[in-house]
Symmetry: D2
């Protein structure tokens, strides 16, 4: 299946392996006229770059992006935008061990089962570097959304069970864990130090908030906005769970408590509470979108693990190399990017929902 | 957007409103030669039918399905299969109130925002009756899967915070709540009685297990099997969360505990544990698939709620009519159906993953 | 493959066999608010109905359409519109012979090769009755287009080599062959009488003209408007060729003659000639779209033909039954319908081509 | 719309402009295990390269392709294959004139109408260089097809009205016009010399033959194999017509002459003639596929033409620069490539048409 393609109108195709020539993405269906230069994209990539601090892999990559097509005189042309990041630091020797054995928690075995063999260097296509294409394309989607007054902000809600108790957006980029609560970040740092000392790793939860989205975006049956956000999040390697609004807590609530009453404020209909997380029946309701993604702990750990080889021989494995003890801080921008791609596509789709608006649109061109 | 279409190869399009002429689905891309009669489909529909017991709406519907095309001499022909259920019990008067006001927790407002107006009779397209199309099509997908030795079983894991403590598959259909634990079902029944007395409602969690799925199904990037299952679940009305394997609990675990070691059993590579829930890197790993969907409490409650009308007038609303105090028991078959549709599509896609198998396939036809 | 699905935004799925319960279509993605009643659709179906005159099959079908969903208070709701025509006159005995042998020029053999068996009654899914779904859905697309001032008109340009020498639109519905030239129609009638007497059949060419389409519709690479029209036409059974504008004649022309000069008329840029047929680089140029489809002669003829059975036995075959000696007059509305579906989808897609228009669109909703 | 994406299972996305950084394509959904090196792709690109002889533009391009991903140890991995050709000879000054005026026969005006502006350097995205992506991807599709014994051969059937009278496949690559008839090639050469002297250009017809395709490929309704071939051909810039088998000539024939009788040869059912061109009801019938595409004359001519500027000013235009007086010889490989992409996709889709084959496929994996 063409599994590296995403989106219907704003469509992307990503490519590249951890230790191949590079990583890239083509964006097909981006509207013409969006001001875009490579710095717009580079800024996003820098947020997911390795080597930012002691909690991220020390692989040394500049991750410099080139725009190869689809932009002319500083604006998108409406034709495909090809973006490319060349790999620089490809120490294949670090990964030679995994050619023959199946690392627990990794996709080595399932890749072999599907394709018969795999590019084993550094995880190949299932490496975290695959997300470079998502982030690069997501930066373009964010440009489009910001022109419409829509803002996407994600942060680390929880690491290894330690939760942020408050949401201070100013704090997010002040600590290396991208938590919106300095005290929680301090405690999580301590936990991570212990995990690193114990050759172990941690997971966490990222929360994402989308403001400025008008009501009416998304579709009522299979293409519910929250359904597509769930797919977007679970498509990120290591994500094991998704919640919209109150999520699993809603399942334990009651109708009278979980229902959000409507009221009128400043001449607009709005909800008094937001247990729903901003969608009703799969369609945005004008409140903020609020959702969470649960990330499993980094599977690459330096402590001894039992596994088997391709030839079914039992083997003990110790994964050395450059791995993040926790992936969630760097994944924040990936979550924002997937959200941006999903919402941009839904917004463009939505323009055809009413015939009166279509008529007005075409009348205005005459 | 064409939001009522689902699947790539095994593709369905559903249609119909709560109080229109009926509900239906067309299945396009179903392989030829599957034995199929209407009883195969009716059995599945009977499991979601209203009026099964005191916890389900007393709307009286036979929900009898007709096969209108695509089956000849008892087998699917490979051409589109049209299935149709006519609505019988359409007491529109029960719903006249909602034409003008927005029910909390329902899609009334978001539909109006999107389409400018809506079929307000009984929720129209956003009614739970919409799932009839999913279940009818899912029954065909299940026929295909069962020919391949794949079995899908869902059950109610939790209602209103009361969880099943054990999983006894025999028990599921013995109690009206479809819980695999008789004692938990008894306690949940009591909770529901209290909620009904209090004009309130409950939510819950459905867990689904898929056995017999070979390793190698699903795709590594955007079309991860778990990503598509997440979308499938969140596309069901009222679902607010999804977990694969350990889900959110994995986020609080450590790498050493969460990683599933590989071993060899009976000449096959398998995992010793299944924290992952049966996928690695988005591709099935040969273990059982295990996932959960969180359902919010039924939003239609008979107690007084504050809301507004289309004209922005505040109004107090009391929803009478025939509504389930809890939706999860009837949703079990919907979860199974969406899982079946998703997995059937992934299996068919997977046939083209390796050129050696393609060559063998076409050689065998000569 | 899901081969009975058509369109990206305005998407349809058709179903049904010649001698099954009926024929139908579901339209998913139709904008909300289009005034629609069943007469809009019935009028189109009546134009393709059998039994209109001596040149069409005498099968007696009312071909009455029902709207089962997606329309409320006389307007489309934005949700799927299910349309259905029940088969009435199913004389299966007429067709029993073809269960075992392969009719020349029909899809019997290729269906068996693909699916292993087939619904052999009256051609099953490959019957001309399959086009009912296209025409019913096309009528809705035409409603949308007419609200935008776009008009689609097709007619029979040629039958059995006899061409219309003039295009008199008033004449089209005056003669049973739907030719825009009464004299050519008279000559073609004579030819058809001879063919019928000789137990033979004729083919022909349909030309289609689209007026009122703004410049800028269609896409530059694979989704060229003319490419999609070509697919639309060749997807109609019996079509063997397609021409845009001058078509094959352009291949024999020169650049200086074939290029259409631009000029300004009434303050608008337009082309002085229209060799191109209304598209440049796959995008509409503001001129009329002009294209043609070539239909092969009806393959069902009453004269003796040599063929083989499923068991590879040679056999002589004489096809009796109710068949049109020429199919093109009834196919005129099918050509219009496929054009309407294709253009409607392209128009809706086009709304997202420029970011300034997207911003204006969403600003207007605030 | 995402108009630079093609295919359902074997899916490609192309990018790049005439005078940007380069041209490329990503292939998503290619099966794993196909032996592939850059020479396989370079050979195909060399056949479309400029500067091959006096009838092709003298633009000097090496058109050297790089494989950036998706190939490991000499075989495709099943993950996206990114291919890239950097532009070298970008004499932008040749094209400065067209920034403001609309060249007749080109997409300048329609691009502006759609996107509001365009990359005017050398045609930008609508340049013939766009086909590099098609040819590069097509070379991979051809590798797959050749492993299944399927061969695609195209040649120039006609230039400026001069037709090949015989089909000598050996002759095709012997003459610069790629005609399968040396005498016709000589006459066409003379015609082209005259056109060049007269600052004019010519069009032509390419015929394509596909051998070795099994019966049963393609789908019966909208996804007819011939419908997709028609779209594939019309998606090539400058193509204005398509014929399958006898094409337009069939429209003038009779049923008794046009029907292809079935017979048995060497224990296989086959057709005695092939008026149909290898498909019946949209599905391959085991005969060779035979189809044609009509190309308009090169619109860039050095003689004076009347046109207008963006500001609606009349202007006389003389297009200097490096342009092919005829495009068809270089387009032969483009036709083959689009055919290969279309057929590969249809073959992969076809693997899921019958449940017995699906069961056998999955049984063989156990």
């Amino acid at each position: 299946m063409a599994g590296s393609t995403y989106g219907t109108i704003f469509k992307i195709m990503t490519w590249g392996e951890s230790h191949g020539a590079g990583i890239g993405v083509v964006v097909d269906g981006c509207p013409a006229g969006i001001p875009l230069d490579r710095e717009d994209i580079q800024r996003a990539l820098d947020r997911r770059k390795p080597g930012q601090n002691r909690y991220t892999t020390q692989r040394s990559e500049g991750d410099l992006v080139c725009i190869l097509s689809g932009v002319f005189e500083g604006k998108t042309t409406g034709t495909p935008i090809a973006l490319e990041v060349r790999n620089e630091d490809q120490r294949s020797k670090d990964y030679s061990q995994i050619a023959e054995c199946y690392r627990p928690g990794h996709a080595d075995y399932s890749f072999d089962a599907k394709y018969g063999f795999r590019d084993y260097r550094g995880g190949g296509r299932s490496s975290g570097r695959e997300t470079i294409g998502r982030v690069a394309a997501g930066a373009i989607a964010q440009k489009l959304l910001s022109m419409l007054g829509i803002q996407i902000t994600a942060y680390v809600k929880e690491i290894g069970g330690i939760s942020a108790k408050k949401i201070d957006l100013e704090e997010i980029e002040r600590n290396p864990l991208r938590m919106p609560d300095a005290e929680a970040a301090r405690m999580a740092s301590q936990l991570l130090s212990e995990r690193m000392a114990g050759k172990d790793s941690a997971g966490g939860v990222i929360e994402c908030v989308v403001t400025g989205l008008p009501a009416g975006i998304g579709d009522p049956v299979f293409e519910k906005l929250d359904a597509n956000l769930a797919k977007a999040m679970l498509s990120i390697g290591a994500v094991k769970g998704f919640e919209m609004g109150d999520g699993f807590a809603a399942a334990a609530s009651s109708g009278s408590q979980n229902n959000d009453s409507f009221s009128v404020q400043n001449g607009r209909i709005c909800k008094k509470t937001n247990h729903a997380g901003g969608t009703l029946g799969g369609i945005s309701d004008g409140s903020d979108l609020v959702f969470r993604a649960a990330f499993k702990p980094t599977p690459s750990i330096a402590s001894l693990q039992e596994t088997v080889t391709r030839d079914q021989e039992p083997i003990s494995l110790c994964i050395h190399g450059r791995h993040d003890p926790v992936i969630v801080p760097r994944a924040v921008v990936v979550v924002e990017s997937m959200a941006a791609l999903t919402i941009a596509d839904a917004l463009l789709s939505n323009m055809t929902s009413r015939v009166d608006r279509i008529v007005t649109f075409y009348e205005s061109l005459k």
